[in-house]
């Protein structure tokens, strides 16, 4: 029995606009962390609010631990769902101390039991020494952990985290997400984590759901999402990918940088797009070529070159840090990928023929 199940959930705020959440279906197993990632306005926060019960779905069903909490007839208000939430702005109660904030959701427990639980949680998130401070006396990261402790205190069946790191400085963020992930793991918590940051999604999630315009593009492990994107959108959004147009021929796919010997189940003459990463592209100096180096980005151990093809299309190429060529140098570009490149037709992945 999944801890959370969404079945074809639909939510629209206006008839004029496309639905914010468009028939989204997904499952989260007990103890699993699911990252939901997508560009702003893709419906990820709406999805979270539908799970928490702050919005009602217009169609579809939401079930928590096998119990339907929202469909066209059933409606369980947020306070009876047993779902904890960490808000983007943390939403710590400013009139309560950290301890009181964490204890806020623990009503119904015996007093001493609640007190020991709060103390235990505060130790776990490293705020035991700051328990009697007010939220405004905390730093951003401390507030973050207090909000997490508060959400976890009632032992919810599910924790929702809405872009919890977006208010932190970049250097804090990496540290914080490691801590949060460790805490969630320690408690074997089931969590849904929303972010617009691909890297964060890859780091936090056991599985990742990529959302676009209210629809799920792909739900998979981080590795699959990164290396085997199901759609052009996923490949594009997860980053570090250039797209190269090509045409299917009998021998492979003909592109601007030559014929790639990979076969697809499409008739010759079909226009396709190939996802090509910097490590799939290489070049050498060639005075006869009309492709030019545009710029070199030094990345420590490696150099990333930006190359402009004769058509004007830009590709990136990963080179050892020892190779240094001036911008403007004419180069011949080809693919040295040892594997078939992801090939898309009308935005959808076309599986290669072995």
């Amino acid at each position: 029995m999944p801890a959370l199940e969404l079945l074809s959930v639909l939510k629209r705020y206006s008839l004029d606009a496309p639905p914010a959440v468009d028939h989204v279906s997904l499952q989260v197993e007990k103890g699993e962390i699911l990252s939901i990632v997508g560009p702003s306005g893709c419906g990820k926060t709406s999805t979270l609010r539908l799970i928490a019960g702050f919005e009602r779905p217009d169609a579809g069903a939401v079930s928590i631990s096998g119990r339907v909490v929202a469909n066209h007839t059933v409606w369980t208000p947020p306070e009876r769902r047993g779902v904890g939430m960490v808000f983007q702005d943390h939403a710590l109660f400013p009139h309560l101390t950290v301890r009181e904030n964490v204890a806020f959701g623990m009503r119904g427990k015996p007093r001493d039991r609640a007190q020991t639980d709060v103390a235990h949680l505060l130790r776990l998130v490293g705020l035991a020494a700051l328990a009697d401070r007010y939220p405004h006396e905390l730093s951003g990261g401390e507030r973050q952990r207090a909000a997490l402790a508060r959400a976890l205190a009632p032992e919810p069946v599910l924790v929702l985290l809405d872009e919890p790191f977006s208010s932190l400085d970049a250097d804090r963020r990496a540290n914080m997400r490691e801590q949060v992930r460790a805490i969630l793991r320690t408690l074997h918590a089931t969590a849904v984590f929303v972010t617009h940051d691909q890297e964060e999604a890859l780091f936090m999630g056991d599985r990742i759901a990529v959302l676009n315009q209210g629809r799920v593009e792909q739900i998979d492990s981080p590795e699959k999402i990164f290396h085997a994107p199901a759609t052009r959108f996923v490949a594009d959004f997860m980053g570090h990918t250039d797209f190269l147009p090509g045409e299917v021929t009998a021998d492979g796919i003909l592109t601007e940088i030559g014929l790639l010997p990979q076969r697809v189940a499409l008739p010759p003459g079909t226009a396709v797009e190939l996802a090509i990463r910097a490590d799939d592209v290489t070049f050498e100096r060639d005075r006869a070529s009309r492709a030019r180096l545009l710029a070199r980005h030094f990345k420590g151990a490696q150099n990333v070159y930006r190359v402009r093809l004769p058509s004007g299309r830009l590709l990136h190429s990963l080179q050892p840090h020892t190779l240094i060529l001036p911008p403007g140098a004419p180069v011949r570009v080809w693919s040295n990928a040892g594997h078939p490149l992801a090939c898309f037709h009308e935005g959808k992945l076309v599986p290669p023929i072995e």
Partner: protein, 558 residues
Amino acid sequence: MTSTLSPSPRPRAVGGLQGWLAHRRIGQRRLNRTLLLAASGVAALVTTPLAYILYRAAAGGAETWARLWQTRLVSLLGNTLALMAAVTFGTLLLGTALAFLVERTDLPLRRAWRWLLALPLAMPAFIGAVVHVALLRPRGGILPRFFADAFGVAIPLPSPFGLWGATFMLTLFMYPYVYLLSAAAFRSLHASLEEAARSFGYSAWRTLWKVTLPVLRPGLTAGALLVALDILAEYGTVALLRYETFSAAIFLQLSGRYDRAAASVLSGVLVVLAIAVLAGEIRLQGQARFEQVSSSWRPAPRLSLGRWRWLAFAFVCFVALNTLFVPLTVLGAWTVQGRLDASFAASVYRSSAQNLWGYAWNSVWSAGLAALAAVILSLPVAYLAVRYPRLTSRALSRLCQVGYALPGVVVALSLILLVNRGLPWLYGTPLVVVLAYVVRHMPQAVRASESALMQISPSLEEAARSLGRRPVMVVLTVTLPLIFPGLLSGAALVFLTSLKELPATLLLRPAGFDTLAVRVWMAAGDGVYAQAAPAALLLIACAAVPLVFLLRRSVLQS
């Protein structure tokens, strides 16, 4: 999620009423029915007096209209508009100038002025007028008599009467509204805005005229329009200064001639005028965007006045002299004079059953009850407007602002007519006075509650619900504790203005229910200044308490 909350435009794809209804259902969170019912009730309560007076004016009869048109309407309209324009302009000028001097220049004693210049708010304008008239009256005034005795000849002094006297007096006691608004605006304005202008080569003065003032203009004009509404409602001062405006004329029809038809017609015209001003105020209020004081805020640099420094100081001293020092000194002197006469003192302080402390108690409990009721009633309206912003809730919130457009005399007239018809048992009790205060001062409570709620992020309430609290408990344990200081401000404002309310109290009070304001007015009318003065001082002291609370909040916020 702002998209959840903002009202969505009408659909074009699905036509007809049905499509529109379906669209509304889909587009928005459902309004809470209990809240909607409560807010509608409050809106009905505060708009009924207005609607009724408009109805009575319309039904006043062609004959009454024709008679008033030929005799009174034109001159009243001219008088009222002239005074309104003059005082509005005067307060805008004086209030902004004083705020600029205090907040943005090296005026001596700036910290003290920041407070002192706001304190005249505790003094009802008519009390100031009583003092100034007693001092300056051409025949028998204290100053003309003094000069005549000292020099043997009559020295011509400016007359306190007429349009210019009234303009001077009302500007002096109403500028603090504009002053407080512009002082807050000057403080909150981000220094970078002016620095940007300076970096383009603008001088400090040019920046002030071309950047700072234009940015602040909508908010300041809105403040001045509130003054304009107060002028429309003003009775005591204009009556004392023998300048006839609508309010004064209506009061006369009601108390002297007892012509309710004529009073209704005049009230109708006055209210239409006031609604036009209020509509302008609400429009401008929407445009006013004072920047939030953020963590990166730093004070804008102060301008050095140079040679003008002491002239500015003298100017500010002159204002404080006229608004604080002279009235308080004279009132103090009269009080002492009264105390020294033993038999007189006995008659003032403890002769009748209704002594001075009794009046004070009447003032405090009626204004306090009004403040409490107004704040409680404002809550559903404000909650709906802030948490479910859309046409319905905004309309209800606007309807609750009509009190601003209801001068005290008009509320009194309307309530006399309505209560006599519907709730005769209420008439003749002090509660009808409290009801008038609530109707008239509800806008202040609604605005205060709305701004308090707007500071509370909806995610705080959502967090409480996800932690297992029912909506009612969320309001009790999270929302109310957090907005409490804001609500207290609203209550203080309603208390302060109710305490100073004169005409509605005069017309509606049951026999024997005297408040301090009423006492001051009656005694001064009889010329027994020694009897008016202690009541006036006590009234000012009572009003100073909520005022100081409000000032501490606004001054300390920076």
